[in-house]
């Protein structure tokens, strides 16, 4: 509820289960990591590696270039997914013609398309952006599509009765506002998969950003540095998904419950 004041104690109470889990999990990891035959670097070693990479600037600069890739890929997928979802959701013939193919394509893992992207677009930025784009496009498009299909027909009629005549007017006054919850959850799913796509593009397509760090430390078996390079990915995914959940809640203020 909006009216609830933020209280540190309540926030701590809500976070308690995660915190407890983190303490147990990382504690166990640390203990195992310090044993002689460990296949894992200790948490403290990972933290040291991370501090080292931050100090020499390699982690921040890698993160920066990865973010650039993610943002370009995600934004273009958001625009294309929105347009595609609206067109397919609103125009039956288009839906009937293309949907089976798009559903089939949706089921193909993005990694499997990487070689194709490589052949067609090469190692450049456009290739990497395409991989990120492909990772986020389908969840966004499919959700927009579902939202548009779900428009209450009676509200279309209300809009028409109050002199909204053009298809564009109906989209603006009814179809798109009614689809906002779907659109938002599409974006939230999309950004999470975009982070995955970003790492895939950087590891398999051209070494750069976080992906390059992962590949380099992986190849040299420097596990503490490898972990330090991997950990930003789930954190980034978590952060962005959380951000979109907040925006989503904002946009859904009108919904019951």
């Amino acid at each position: 509820m909006r009216s609830e004041r933020f209280s540190p104690r309540a926030a701590l109470g809500r976070a308690a289960p995660h915190l407890a889990f983190a303490v147990v999990f990382f504690g166990a990891w640390e203990l195992y990591g310090r044993s002689d035959d460990a296949q894992l670097p200790a948490v403290s070693a990972v933290a040291t590696a991370m501090a080292d990479m931050t100090a020499d600037g390699s982690l921040p600069s890698a993160l920066g270039s990865s973010m650039q890739l993610l943002v370009i890929g995600f934004l273009s997928a958001a625009v294309a997914g929105f347009v595609g979802g609206v067109l397919l959701g609103r125009y039956r013939p288009l839906d009937r013609t293309l949907m089976p193919f798009l559903s089939a394509l949706y089921a193909v893992p993005t990694v499997a398309l990487v070689p194709l992207v490589l052949v067609w677009l090469g190692f450049g930025l456009s290739g990497r952006v395409t991989v990120v784009f492909l990772s986020c496009y389908f969840p966004i498009m499919m959700n927009v599509y579902a939202g548009v299909r779900d428009t209450p027909p009676e509200l279309i009629e209300v809009s028409r009765s109050f002199l909204v005549r053009s298809e564009f007017g109906l989209l603006r006054t009814v179809v798109i506002p009614a689809a906002v919850p779907f659109i938002m959850s599409g974006l939230r799913l999309g950004i999470g998969l975009g982070v995955v796509g970003m790492a895939v593009a950087e590891v398999y397509l051209r070494l750069g950003g976080i992906g390059a760090l992962i590949a380099a430390y992986g190849a040299t078996f420097r596990l503490d540095y490898l972990f330090a390079a991997i950990i930003p990915l789930p954190l980034l995914g978590l952060l962005l998904t959380k951000l979109f959940t907040l925006i989503e809640r904002r946009a859904d203020a009108w919904r019951a419950g």
Partner: protein, 278 residues
């Protein structure tokens, strides 16, 4: 009651041989239902007309053709002498399902038709507030529809239609989804509002008491394919909200007349079941 107005007056509605057949395909088989046979009728300017008939007789279809939301297959509808080709500024609809946009606040819902007519935002907001006050919803401007009861939601629907200042109000079973006590209160409010600002009202209902207590005239439709079965004048004095309309002899008389017609249709339908079925 203003009987002086002729059909060419601005707010009169001529329904001229209007028919509508719905066709669709069900598992590849063409099916159809004749919703409106051939309806001829003239709604006078500024009268309160109720439309009643057996369930499924096409009352709502008739209202939707007058609203311009569906095109009749046969015949023509004229408002103020001009043929209806679609929704227009001269008509506003109140829907049974309220038809409020759940993502808009109450005041934005009422502003909606004004904004679509190109009224500047500030002016639209002022008109919306004034109309919300009229229906007793002052203080709820910033609420969302889901926070209101059914009766209150329909008052928003009514305020939205009134805010357009259309001369014709088309009401499609507006109180059908509202509980009985609230419904009676809404009827009373509607009567007051109508007395203050006379409009042509076409009020579709399946509630006989509601039709008699509100209307000047009642258009009784036959069962499908519907035609005009009868037109019944309701001879009850106005204003109607300050006395108990239902205890008047004229109320009982009009009610009985119409009930006889509806009843005979029901009986015929029972007897004819299976023979006239499409």
């Amino acid at each position: 009651m203003s009987k002086s107005a002729g059909p060419l007056d601005d707010a009169g509605i001529e329904i001229d041989g209007v028919g509508k057949t719905f066709r669709w395909r069900n598992k590849g088989v063409a099916e159809e239902v004749v919703a409106l046979g051939k309806v001829d009728f003239t709604v006078r300017s500024n009268e309160f007309l109720a439309v009643i008939g057996p369930s499924g007789c096409g009352k709502t279809t008739l209202l939707r053709t007058v609203a311009g939301l569906i095109k009749p297959d046969r015949g023509e509808i004229r408002v103020g002498g001009r043929p209806v080709t679609g929704p227009g500024e001269d008509r506003a609809v109140v829907f049974q399902h309220f038809g409020l946009f759940p993502w808009k606040t109450v005041v934005d819902n009422v502003k909606f038709p004004l904004r679509m007519r190109g009224v500047p935002d500030k002016e639209a907001a002022a008109t919306a507030r004034a109309n919300l006050k009229k229906v007793g919803l002052e203080g709820f401007e910033r609420s969302y529809p889901h926070q209101l009861s059914g009766g209150m939601q329909q008052r928003v629907g009514l305020a939205r239609a009134l805010a357009t200042d259309a001369r014709i109000l088309l009401m499609d079973e507006p109180f059908g989804a509202i509980d009985a006590q609230t419904r009676e209160f809404m009827q009373e409010q509607l009567m007051k509002l109508w007395d203050e600002n006379k409009k042509t009202v076409v009020f579709v209902t399946h509630d006989l008491d509601e039709a008699v207590s509100l209307a000047d005239r009642i258009l009784v439709l036959s069962r499908r394919p519907s035609r005009v079965r009868a037109v019944v004048d309701v001879d009850l004095p106005r204003p109607r909200w300050d006395y108990d309309v239902r205890s008047e002899p004229a109320f009982a008389e009009a009610r009985r007349t119409i009930w006889e017609m509806l009843r005979s249709d029901l009986v015929e339908e029972e007897e004819g079941a299976g023979i006239h079925a499409i």
